[in-house]
Subunit: 679 residues, 2 copies
Amino acid sequence: MQNRRTERGTFFPVFWKIDAHYVLMDFHKVFDVPAEETVDIYVEGEYNVKIDGIAFEGSPKQIVVPAGKHKINIKVFNQANVPAIYVKGKTIVSDATWLVTFEDKEWIDETGKASDISATKWLNAGSSNFNSPAQLPSEFMLPTRKQSAVSTIKGKNSLLVDFGKETFGFIQLHGLSGKGKLSVYYGESEEEALSTEHCETLDRVDVNTQEKKDEIMKLSKAYRFVNVQCDEGVTLDSVSMLYEYADVKERGSFTCNDEEINRIYDVSKYTFELNTREFFIDGIKRDRWIWSGDAYQSYLMNYYLYFDNETVKRTTYALRGKDPVTGHINTIMDYTFYWFLGIYDYYLYTGDQNFIAQNYDRMKTLMDYVLARRNKDGLMEWMSGDWIFIDWAAGLSKKGEVSFEQLLLARSLETMALCANIANDTDAATQYNTLAADMRKKLFNIYWNDTKQALVHSRVDGKQTENVTRYANMFSIFFDYFNEQQKEQVKTSVLLNDHIQKITTPYMRFYELEALCALGEQNYVLKEMKDYWGGMLKLGATSFWEEYNPDKKGAEHYAMYGREFGKSLCHAWGASPLYLLGKYYLGVKPTAPGYSEYVVEPNLGGLEWMEGKVPTPQGEIELYVSTNEIKITGAAGTGVLKFSSRSKPVCSEGNVEDKGDGNYELTVEKEKSYTVNYN
Amino acid sequence: MQNRRTERGTFFPVFWKIDAHYVLMDFHKVFDVPAEETVDIYVEGEYNVKIDGIAFEGSPKQIVVPAGKHKINIKVFNQANVPAIYVKGKTIVSDATWLVTFEDKEWIDETGKASDISATKWLNAGSSNFNSPAQLPSEFMLPTRKQSAVSTIKGKNSLLVDFGKETFGFIQLHGLSGKGKLSVYYGESEEEALSTEHCETLDRVDVNTQEKKDEIMKLSKAYRFVNVQCDEGVTLDSVSMLYEYADVKERGSFTCNDEEINRIYDVSKYTFELNTREFFIDGIKRDRWIWSGDAYQSYLMNYYLYFDNETVKRTTYALRGKDPVTGHINTIMDYTFYWFLGIYDYYLYTGDQNFIAQNYDRMKTLMDYVLARRNKDGLMEWMSGDWIFIDWAAGLSKKGEVSFEQLLLARSLETMALCANIANDTDAATQYNTLAADMRKKLFNIYWNDTKQALVHSRVDGKQTENVTRYANMFSIFFDYFNEQQKEQVKTSVLLNDHIQKITTPYMRFYELEALCALGEQNYVLKEMKDYWGGMLKLGATSFWEEYNPDKKGAEHYAMYGREFGKSLCHAWGASPLYLLGKYYLGVKPTAPGYSEYVVEPNLGGLEWMEGKVPTPQGEIELYVSTNEIKITGAAGTGVLKFSSRSKPVCSEGNVEDKGDGNYELTVEKEKSYTVNYN
């Protein structure tokens, strides 16, 4: 996945360590077999098969297992691809309950036979929907479906094809013939496709055929426009594409009376669909890489659209790689911290303790790496090899100790404490809690400025800088690090203060608007959404961008990184309305792991009505909200609907509790529906 | 290499972690190019090429580099095989001076371009004799040559083939035809080949051909005898083999007046040749694995026969694998220590500082692993997952803290101190020296027993055990840990004491005889050699065995590990006379790294005359010694010939110094020859 980036035809892999799979794996499971059974075995790799420690000759494709309790081991070596097994008997089948290790330590001592497998760490085998021996994991590809162009302009030796909107997949050239070269120039904009010198991606094809042939490009790519240029002597009938997509299910939804918001929601959904692939990637045109900061936001959007746990877990594993840790995740300090935060959210939304148990050792060693890089004052500061990113923002200082990084460390330590408890590592939990509390104290002691009523951006040479930026301030709101007074102060002094440097990426707008929503500013945020995302739509966007600065004009919007078409016009982090509308307008959020408890605090933010669904581990919470009616259907666990009303609300299906000051609460039971009339 | 073991047709890989290669590598070198040149590029993997940071389109097979100073980068991804490059221009060529990394950290920041490659650790690229683009590293195979059987006995549907001596390679079946199955049963002995039920290795072939065909077995194997059994309807003309060997050069030699010793030397040489493959392996029939304890002895034999540094380095790297350390090398505590000791010797014999520098980080992390596993008294003691091997010896106790393991740790720490100094890690050097001194002190405080005049075997529950074994005692002699008085005490109380458990493996006989040689007991050792290795020869051995117990009879000799033919009859550790004769009879040993200084202390041990060569980094030291004449030719560095004489020695080419008490010394200069007449 990290090797599919190309830049004008050049292979462009990542600049950090890529770990290979373990090449030698032992898989095992103990079965209690009711009657003798024949078991088919398919393996990717060289292998042996043992029953109760006794090996079969050769690499058998079928074995007979007698009745009784038996341990089946399959040991596989595969350097080229991940060792994989497919086992199919009546009761003996391969699935996620098999255990695996890369070192079984089953040695033989001088007494002839002995072993110390108790010393071996067994994990659950990875598994996915490979439900036939013909589906080889090593040959996995996402599904595709055919798509046609919406318009094609034929020129002399050229075709300019428009697919109508941003899309992704394999270009198919139809009726190719002659002898010579052909180039395919891709463009997220028409300007990019036409710029044969500066478009970001391209393909070159050698044509040499008398008979007309079709050819499919090897690598799927992102584009709306495709500009095909042929040598004299090469002809081509038409161009179509195979749209490549992840097989995930839309479970969340949102509609309201405002058509612009509906359009923003739909384009967000499509943007997110395009960036949800084998993993959650940053953007489909350029990097196509897994970036931790981007992935962290995708996880959150995912909880309100797909609730696809597998993609979250895969992405989390892929980002982390193996020990030893030789650098920050993606080389970026903040991205290491987002990795921890993503696990915190994953547990809160899904309640999946097994993932924590499987992953805890890697969390610990990554945190060891982080803690070993604190400076003499116990703060995170740039060290050789680190990239302090924060955001794409002009002139953002990374000098000294940046407050934002300390804040993320504090939150990461809180995650570690939580996970240490789940993994029954109670001593570590205590340590992490102490460290976390200490970091939070430091954050306020060092960076809070009473005059500025804000956390300052950084400390340099032991002194607070004058600079206030939005980052640490907005996170401290939704992390609940500020007290109520500080929250109100920061809202005025930072969030709604035009003198503080503005954010131009949807990436940090995500958090900025989240902070404002957490402060109850849904009306303001709705206007911002319409301005910002609506602004992109007005410019013809069919998916949301990596960056949007309303001050720019025309093709200026396409430039970034000093390159004319450097900007990604379809970036996962552009899809945050999915999250904001689900969590802060429909107002659904888990308050205990896996939605065993949750709250629903709808906020119309100026809309007349809205309706939608929010997925949980056990079905969707359904909601309709207008100014005088709320309809809700519960899913997993127990929910509390919180709302305010000028009149006493009426609900025939449940008991509305009066919490005083016009605030009311209704308990929402699993799979039950309620209608509340209120004002 | 670790996946070529089979047991009766079953794939039998190692039970410890196998690390894969780094799949994404950046290679670079800065060239000062006198004139524009065209450079051909061949790569195993997907790749890009950059000059001064600017990438070419696609993956070019040829580039033009302008005159001047230029940095060439080639970044390669290859999951299936090790990323490899072959570059050939006039001056721009691939070789060991290129640098590599698995994380270049060349990131781009918001200013458009920046990087922090200073944070990247670059190592020298691995390289070998792949001197044409057609020789792909991924397709490397050892060379082979055809060998014929010395006798074949045809039976009904069978052939019993004898190759005359232990050998190794690919069996070729000639003139195969018919339809049915054919089995090849391999035997290091005739008994084994004939035992179709219990021979250790076999091949099965499906035959289905009208026309006569030849077929070569896929995996090379060890055998002297091959028993081919065919189904009715399958016929076969004859069997030959392709002998597979490592392309190393014999540089050392030894001959003397005793024909039995000459035969022992020759069979040792052949035994070692068979076990010297891509790496130094333990034995060719069964494991074919790289075991650290076995390899350590092979390194020492190698210094007196091939002086092949590449095989030592490859084996050292292969044993170590990558971080993180998850277990002892080969899971064996002692084997971790031998790995350090091997590096000590490698440096002493070769003087190769670069290897230390390239390898030092891995030495440190392995030592970190070891030190973290000391018990509360700072001693090495069994922990879950550890195998304490020492030797194949009946009833050897591994309980409590075994003296031998503490001794090996002390020596390993001394190696770390030496290498830390070479790597300019002076603080660490001081620490390691302190730790080493402390361990040596503990070794004597805890285990030395004045009554027994020996180091005892172990301490259990804080108390010395009554048991005295040879291991720690013999190592303390040639490590020079004992004082002269202790050495003499131990010689009598342990080494020459028949009440102390006898050693039955050539593995530990190696050290036992070395200790006796270090005490000047060459006459005794010569007799032991003739008894022990001569004993195997008398039983018809054509290579030396994994274990030899003179008390056993007939086919009993072939059994081990509870299996009838479990014993390896060609085991590297059987070849130790190579080392003993070179180091303690010819008496040549380096006293400073890379033979910059060395001593020659010939000891006939009862022989009338002997002659031989000992390789050094710069040619061979040649020696002829009889009771009245010594002829020597120097090689690298400066040597000191030490000998004693009843009369005043005469040497016309150099100045013989009288050291008193009948001892004399002659300085031997590089490439000069000397003849000394003495008595």
